[in-house]
């Protein structure tokens, strides 16, 4: 069921309830795309999440009532949301994934099992949020679920791929963090000088592809230069 809520006097939140569901998420992105395509003059920006979408507007140009009636009259097509398949190369273990042995032990698996299980699914990008380029991925196999670190690291390098509970994903920028790091991608997954700045977009599907150390540094130099 669709509900519309107020975000102060400069935003409304469209919500399909507190659920994580692929079909509902597609609807959210279809609405977001329809609004962005229409580009009404009062629009500041739209921010999609799992099952909700914020529409931020200029309240000197339009009222919340008018925004709500605009949304009610909006035509959108879920079929328009087409994800690409993006391959993310990952060097697993060693200096790139210091926690992979813990993840294996915690789940009674070998390191190779963890790599195989982690790189097998096609993960769906539900949305980007929290920090620049941070992707909320759906579809991790629960056999490798592992709780977060008790004490977060103060510095996790950009590209680090990790597991936190039943979630997986990568750190798009260097930051502190408590995820169990199992590998690292040499790709520059978030680059503010590129348009769009993020390598994956909501609705895309991600496949992790294991690579070795040599390949890691080859791609790394291409992406980041020699610094």
């Amino acid at each position: 069921m669709l509900t519309i809520r107020l975000l102060g006097n400069s935003g409304v939140l469209i919500s399909f309830g507190e659920v994580i569901d692929e079909e509902i998420n597609k609807r959210i992105h279809a609405i977001a795309q329809a609004i962005e395509k229409d580009k009404p003059g009062w629009l500041i920006e739209v921010v999609p999440a799992y099952s909700s979408l914020a529409i931020y507007y200029d309240p000197t140009l339009i009222t919340h009532k008018e925004v709500i009636s605009y949304v009610s009259g909006l035509k959108f097509n879920v079929e328009d949301v087409k994800g690409r398949k993006i391959e993310i190369p990952v060097a697993y273990g060693g200096e790139f994934g210091p926690d992979i042995e813990f993840v294996a032990e915690h789940n009674g698996l070998t390191v190779d099992d963890v790599i195989e299980i982690h790189s097998k699914p096609l993960y769906r990008v539900y949305f980007l949020g929290f920090l620049p380029g941070f992707a909320y991925l759906g579809g991790m196999d629960e056999r490798i679920a592992t709780p977060r670190l008790e004490k977060p690291r103060t510095k996790v390098p950009a590209g680090s791929v990790g597991i936190a509970g039943k979630q997986t994903g990568w750190y798009a920028i260097e930051s502190p963090g408590g995820w169990r790091i199992i590998g690292r991608t040499p790709l520059r997954t978030f680059n503010p000088e590129r348009v769009p700045p993020s390598i994956v977009l909501p609705g895309d599907y991600v496949k992790f592809v294991p690579i070795d150390e040599k390949e890691f540094w080859e791609i790394y130099r291409e992406e980041w230069g020699n610094d």
Binding site: G8, V47, P48, Y56, F130, P132, S175
Partner: protein, 331 residues
């Protein structure tokens, strides 16, 4: 060009923020107190969104390497070559002059220069956002080029005292309840609206953490499925202590939000120091919109008056003094 001489407390370049990239997870950032920053720009003849220096309590010392028109806003002490000036006014500085600023009240002050500050734009904005290394705080020795100002003779402007925003006195801020109101009990909502909450020292540009009576969650609990976070959202994690989400807030989050502070009252929140207390008052959405529209009409009139497009009159009507604006020709 100006040179940063000393930074007794953090100072950085900000404009009105990085708008349009939240869907990529990029926080908006931008000035904490939009009204004071925009007024600083108006005083030197700049548009709203020109980059300014945002400084904090301990202030900043800088040196002019070329002559420039500047203005300082906020409840600031302004000293040029040991000579005290006033905030909310524009002045002309010449090569070699040293400007010293710090705050008497509030948390943020702004320095604007005619023509703005030249800085690299990242995703369309000069705003410093430290976590992603979009820019960095200013440090001694930094040299900043100033933009080209069409008219350099904009000194001597001032904000009439009636229009200096009062962000430092009464700390009642207005909120629209929700969006996650069903995550709180009726008692929890009453506690939130009837208590005083103190800003704690763990507050920063991302959010102000408050201390005060615990806000009770309903059986739905403190967590929600991650959803967007608007400016001014009042998040309440499981400990029942509210956090106000401000300029550098994350774009989405998983804590329930009891209310959203209306945009017109965000500057008042931003200017609250740790140890000072805030009170929340509910307001209807209609009233909130009217209020913001009225503020924007005043801001526009001030900008035009300071740019000599409109004129400002002081008129007396039955013994009472009023200010009036008018466009058109000089009388």
């Amino acid at each position: 060009m100006i040179e940063i001489v000393a930074t007794p407390s953090p100072a950085m370049i900000q404009d009105l923020g990085r708008v349009g990239y939240q869907k990529f997870g990029v926080p908006v950032s931008g000035v904490m107190d939009e009204v004071s920053a925009r007024l600083a720009n108006y005083l030197v003849g700049n548009p709203d969104n020109y980059p300014v220096i945002e400084f904090t309590v301990g202030g900043l010392i800088l040196k002019f390497h070329s002559s420039s028109v500047f203005a300082v806003t906020g409840e600031a002490e302004v000293i040029l070559n040991d000579y005290p000036l006033e905030p909310w006014k524009s002045y002309w500085a010449k090569r070699g002059d040293v400007l010293k600023v710090r705050l008497r009240k509030g948390m943020y002050g702004y320095i604007a220069f005619a023509g703005g500050i030249e800085c690299p734009r990242i995703l369309g904005s000069c705003s410093t956002y430290m976590r992603a290394k979009f820019g960095r705080p200013l440090k001694p020795g930094d040299r900043l080029s100033l933009g080209y100002a069409i008219l350099t003779g904009k000194a001597g402007k001032s904000i009439p005292r009636e229009f200096i925003p009062n962000l430092w006195g009464d700390k009642t801020v207005r909120v629209v309840l929700g969006p996650n109101i069903e995550h709180f009990t009726a008692q929890g909502i009453r506690t939130f609206l009837s208590s005083e909450y103190e800003v704690t020292p763990e507050s920063d540009r991302m959010g102000y953490r408050l201390e005060g009576p615990k806000i009770e969650h309903s059986e739905r609990g403190a967590g929600i499925v991650t959803e967007p976070i608007p400016l001014g959202a009042v998040q309440v994690p499981a400990n029942g202590k509210p956090i106000i989400m401000l300029a550098d807030r994350q774009t989405t989050g998983g804590y329930s939000k009891i209310a959203t502070i209306i945009r017109a009252d965000i500057p008042k929140v931003a200017q609250t120091r740790p140890g000072e207390k805030l009170k929340f008052r509910p307001i209807s959405i209609q009233k909130a919109i009217e209020d913001l529209r009225r503020r924007e009409i005043t801001m526009k009139a001030l900008r035009k008056a300071l740019n000599d497009e409109w004129f400002l009159y002081r008129i007396k009507v039955v013994g009472k003094e009023f200010l009036a604006f008018s466009g058109g020709c000089r009388p």
